[in-house]
């Protein structure tokens, strides 16, 4: 069964501190993993995806297939990072993608 878990519902860090939002998944095939972010009063938007292997707004995430994890990290948190973060998964087929399923979300609060 496809499943995405995020163990922390709420995470508070001080500005300038490192932040790690945890995500684990279960999927029998070859998934693509994403992090979506929702800032206050804004729409859900893609933050990053594992296949692009890029850093967005200082955030990175590495897919660890052995531990089935896709944790989101940033070395120095900023106040503008305060938002709701959703880890998500889409099954990859040969020529297309399955629906995206979301984890329960982690609310990150960066304390000035």
């Amino acid at each position: 069964a496809q499943r995405v878990t995020q163990p922390e519902k709420l995470l508070s860090v001080f500005k300038g501190a490192p932040v790690e939002l945890k995500c684990n998944y279960s999927y029998s095939g070859s998934p693509e993993l994403f992090w979506y972010v929702q800032y206050s009063r804004q729409r859900l938007q893609l933050l990053l995806r594992h296949i692009s292997r890029e850093s967005i707004k200082g955030f990175t995430a590495d897919l660890n297939k052995g531990e089935t994890s896709f944790h989101l990290k940033k070395p120095f948190a900023q106040e503008e990072d305060s938002a709701m973060y959703y880890c998500a998964l889409s099954g990859r087929r040969r020529t297309s993608y399955d629906k995206v399923i979301f984890g329960p979300g982690t609310s990150l609060s960066v304390i000035p």
């Binding site: 729409r43 893609l46 995806r49 629906k99 979301f102 329960p104």
Partner: protein, 114 residues
Amino acid sequence: EPEVTQTPSHQVTQMGQEVILRCVPISNHLYFYWYRQILGQKVEFLVSFYNNEISEKSEIFDDQFSVERPDGSNFTLKIRSTKLEDSAMYFCASRPSHNTGELFFGEGSRLTVL
């Protein structure tokens, strides 16, 4: 930059009434989705739509729900006879092609059933 738009932003209805939520996906996108989020809970998949038909639906998407793309631009979600537990934020999303898993979301329609 093109965006997915949804109307209404908030609808209040009485239990048993029909509700239609409207979405205008990004114009050259091919795949369309409805998700819902009950307050305090996760974003849940409802239905996906491709090539003018439902490609997948969840067990939440029972006979009370239907989707349509009546005119090539709008993508609607209809709930025939609303229940209290249908109160949620409903998100429309679209995807440009089969080459990407990225979804582009609307701002959501909040449905309150009294």
